[in-house]
Structure formats: structure tokens, C-alpha cells
């Protein structure tokens, strides 16, 4: 049943060799996890003991200090922008993905190609014109323009992923519903949606992560401190000369925690979706 790259058999090795493989794996995993684990642990240490190996003073001061500087506002900004954008983008993407997956219409190939093309386009080239246009329309420092941007950046990937998930939903269900007289919208939202809900959740999670860690558009379009998102505020604590390590670590941990919690349970589904296009023969 399993995959089967029999590294052991292939190298014709014994127990000693197996042990070596296990040790190498553990070392690699340690290197991969160390930086993130260190941030989270350091956020509970006093700045004085943070960089001293072996000394450990547990504290919640870093968090208290961080929230006292108004970081809760950045958390709220990030949550609001990401949740609203992901909601809008996922609803649009479910409809569009269904149309691309199940229906025939003129121009379908070029429209789908242009959606995929959106994934490859450099955002940095769009930032300047969008900044200029927002400046002219008075939409700088406005959550609406940020939501607009985040919906647009997450749409191509969401549609691509959902088209992949829809392939696994049997068409016979839609066909039965059509004969029963259901409209297309009813089919999508009442019949197909419950079946592909895990795929939709995975897609929305991915979109959320994309918005949550987005830095470039936020940097260009949000200049007022009280409107900034978490990544912007976090980097601001990381000053050129004096770095507030306590605040930096607490802000880093708070920024990482939601994505870590969302990612871990979804990892299998997420990669199978991302890999779908590349794995199938």
C-alpha cells in the first residue's frame, strides 16, 4: 500500500543504517522547526534572559506590553480584512469554479487561462498603479480598498484549487438535481457545497493565510498606524537601531499562532489539493 521508496532496501543497509536515517531525519526536522519554536518560546522569556542560553525567566510581560501599545488594534485590523476578503473571495470562487468545472460556454478556455495567468503576474508591478489610483480616488488608508485587493489576489488561486476539488464530486448528483428542477444556484449551494465543504475550507484557509501574511499592498496602501495590519506593525517594532525584542517576539508569536493552528489539521488536504495539478498523470 505504501509509497515506496525503500531507502533501506535500496541502500542495502542494516539497523545501523536505519538509525542513521532516523538521526538525519530528526536533525533536519529540528532545523526546520527551531526558528519558529524559538520565537514562541522567546515570547515568554524576559528580554534580559532571551538571548542567554540556559537562563530562563518565564513572563507574560512581553504580551502585556505589546497589547498596551495598541497592538490589539492591528490584530483586529488583520482579522477584519482577512475574514471579509476570504468570505467574499470564496463565495465568488465557488460559483466561478463550478462554472469552469461543469458548464460549457463560449470563451471558457481563454477565461480560465486568464485566471491561471493571474497567479503568475508580479504584484509589485500592480502596487504602484493601484497606489496612484487609490491616491487619486482618496482610497488610501481605507479598509475597502484593502478588501478589494485581497479579494483580487486570492481569487485566481481559490478558483484553481476549487476546480481541482470539484473533479472529485460526482456529476450524477447535479444531473439528478437538474431533473428534479433545481436551479444552478441551488445545485451549487445546496447539493455540491456540502459535499465539497472540506475542499472549500482548505481553500479558504489557504486564502486566509495569503492575506494574513501579505505585506506589500498593506505597506503601500496603509500609512496610518491605527489602520496597519499585524505584519506591518510587527516589522515596525523591529527598528533599525533599537529593537524591542520582547514586543517583536510576542508580536511574531501572535502572528504565527493562527496560521499554525489552521494549517496543522488541514495539511494533508491542502497538499493534495495543491499537488492535484502536478501529481495526476
Amino acid at each position: 500500500m505504501s509509497p515506496a521508496f525503500r531507502l533501506g532496501a535500496w541502500l542495502r543497509i542494516g539497523l545501523l543504517g536505519e538509525l542513521a536515517i532516523v538521526l538525519v531525519t530528526l536533525l533536519v526536522l529540528f532545523l526546520l522547526v527551531y526558528p519558529t519554536a524559538w520565537v514562541i518560546l522567546a515570547s515568554f522569556r524576559t528580554p534580559e534572559t532571551m538571548f542567554v542560553a540556559g537562563r530562563w525567566a518565564f513572563t507574560l510581560d512581553n504580551y502585556a506590553k505589546l497589547l498596551a501599545t495598541g497592538f490589539w488594534r492591528n490584530i483586529a485590523n488583520s482579522l477584519l480584512l482577512c475574514l471579509v476578503s476570504v468570505l467574499i473571495s470564496t463565495v465568488l470562487a465557488v460559483n466561478a469554479a463550478y462554472a469552469f468545472s461543469r458548464l460549457r460556454f463560449p470563451g471558457k478556455r481563454s477565461l480560465f487561462a486568464s485566471v491561471l495567468f493571474g497567479q503568475t503576474f508580479p504584484w509589485i508591478v500592480l502596487v504602484t498603479p493601484i497606489f496612484i489610483l487609490c491616491a487619486r480616488l482618496g482610497l488610501l488608508n481605507n479598509p475597502v480598498s484593502m478588501i478589494f485587493v485581497y479579494v483580487a489576489v486570492t481569487l485566481p488561486f481559490s478558483i484553481y484549487l476549487l476546480v481541482g476539488y470539484l473533479r472529485a464530486v460526482p456529476r450524477s448528483l447535479d444531473e439528478a438535481a437538474i431533473i428534479d428542477g433545481a436551479t444552478q444556484l441551488q445545485i451549487v449551494w445546496r447539493i455540491v457545497l456540502p459535499i465539497m465543504l472540506p475542499g472549500i475550507v482548505a481553500t479558504a484557509t489557504y486564502a486566509f493565510l495569503l492575506c494574513w501574511s501579505e505585506y506589500l499592498f498593506a505597506l503601500a496602501l496603509l500609512t496610518q498606524d491605527e489602520l496597519k495590519t499585524m505584519p506591518l506593525a510587527l516589522y515596525a517594532y523591529f527598528g533599525e537601531n533599537v529593537t524591542e525584542w520582547g514586543s517583536v517576539m510576542a508580536a511574531s508569536a501572535l502572528t504565527t499562532l493562527p496560521t499554525l493552528l489552521l494549517f496543522l489539521p488541514l495539511q494533508a488536504r491542502m497538499t493534495s489539493g495543491l499537488a492535484a495539478g502536478s501529481v495526476k498523470q
Binding site: V22, V33, A113, F121, S213, S278
Partner: protein, 310 residues
Amino acid sequence: MAAISRPGLWSDRRRFLTVALVPTFFFLACFYVYPTVFNLETSFTDMSLFGLRKGGDWVGIENYLEILASGDFRRVLWNTVIWLTLVGVGVRILLGLVLAFLLNSPVLKRWRLQTLARVLLIVPWATPPVVAIVVWRWLLDPRVGAINAALVSAGLVDQPIAFLAERLWVWPALITIITWNTLPLVTLTFMASLQSLPEELIEAARIDGASRWQQIRYVYLPHLKPAIIVMVLMSTFWTFNNFVYVWLVTGAGPGLYTNVMATEVYIQAFINGRFGFSAATGVIMATIMTVFGLIYLRFVAERELAEEQT
């Protein structure tokens, strides 16, 4: 599905297509098409920070001529294409392959480490780039960083190394950070592909007396090929287009030593206020990516679409 029909089906389908596609393509047109056209237009002007509202004066292809004549731009192009993209993506794909083989090994299954390995592998991926940059800037810091502390105490170096300020070290350091953050996705994709390889194929190769390298060369790599192609193309887009790693790790420095196209576009517009010049750089960047995009469409979209058509 064409066989299924009932009264009113076609008008309902048309209504659904309007609801499904018009909002999506409204967003995409406003976000991708209009700014791209606007950017192209700006690239032929001398628009500055002060001319943001009224626009700049038409200067023809002057911005492009200046870019092509400048030695700075050759440096930027070299950094973007060779260092960031070629080396960056190459290292990621090679390490991803090695790691996928390692983590798929049945040895780990026997030691009940496979689930742990998969979960821990996600951690760098789930770490937002800004956090990754912050922690790596600390790790590489010459005064308080753990890497220098370890090197000094192991006696490998006398003086701490300012990894991000020395020309010799800055690119390897940048590549390390990007690789750490992006390796899991590539590895997991290759692992998924390896798991779909039928056992009988390897069995058959072994019975036929294929050597280890022949197995890799003729069984594993051909099976992994589609996954490798997609990951190479996607990694190329993500890396070539990426702004945040170089900007937040080195600020394109020391000096402008690590300046890449994305940071050049940003610096010219938002630091130097030369929006026209920045737009011209952006047009060149977008043109290069369009070529890659067409290759991507050939490999990926063709296959997707071929399936959707049936």
C-alpha cells in the same frame, strides 16, 4: 451533461453564468488588467511624486533607454535571474527532492516517525514570511544571534560574521531564509507524487535487475517529472516576483548589492519618487513573467482545460 435537459434549463444556466463569472472577472479586470494598462502608459511618462494627480509628461521610450543603458540594471537583472531565481529555485527543488525521498522512507514508518515528520514539516510553511524574516535576522545577527554564538563557541570563526552586511555572505544568507520558508510546500508535493507511484513498478525494475541509479533515473524521476515541472514553474513565479524577502532582510543592501527587480520597482517609485521610471522597470518585469506564464499555461492549463472540456 448535455444529455440532461428540462424546460427552462438554458435560461437558468445563462443566469447562473452571469452571476458566477461577472463579479469574479470584474475584480480581476479592475485589479490586473486596468493597472497593467495604466502602468504601461505611465512608463512612457516622467511622472514624479508631485505629478501623481495630474500625471507626467510624455517622454516616449526615454525611461526604457535609460534602463537598458544603465549598469545598475544589469546588476539588478543578474541578481534577479541568477541569484534569486536560478539558485533560489534550484536549491529548493533539489533539497525538496532529497527530503521527500528521506521522509517517504519506510524506515520512518517502522519507527513511527512519519506523522510527526509530516506535522513538523508544515511549521516553516505556516510561519508568515515577515515572522520568518524577523527570526532569521535575529539568528544571523552578529551581536545576539544564535548562529554566530554557535560558530564562535565551536571555534570555527574568531569574529562573528555580519552575514547580512558582507557581500560574500548576503546572498547565501538570503537563499537560506527563502529556502527554509518555502521548502515544505515543494517537499510535500513531491511526497504526494511519490506516494502515487505503484509499488509494482519498482518491484518490476528490481526483478529486472535495475541498479539503484537506474531505478532513480528510469522509475522515480519520470514519475516525479510532472510534479517537478509544476513546482519549478510555480517556484519561479513566487520567487522572481517576490518583494518582501529581499526588502525586509537586506533592504536591497549592502548598498544596492542585493537589489532585485521587485525592490528596484519599489525603490524607484516610493523612495526616489520616479513613478514613470519605476513603471518602465515594471513593464520589463511583467514581460519576462508573461513569457514564463505562457510556458506555465502550456504545461498546466492545457492539461486542466483538456479535462474540463470533456
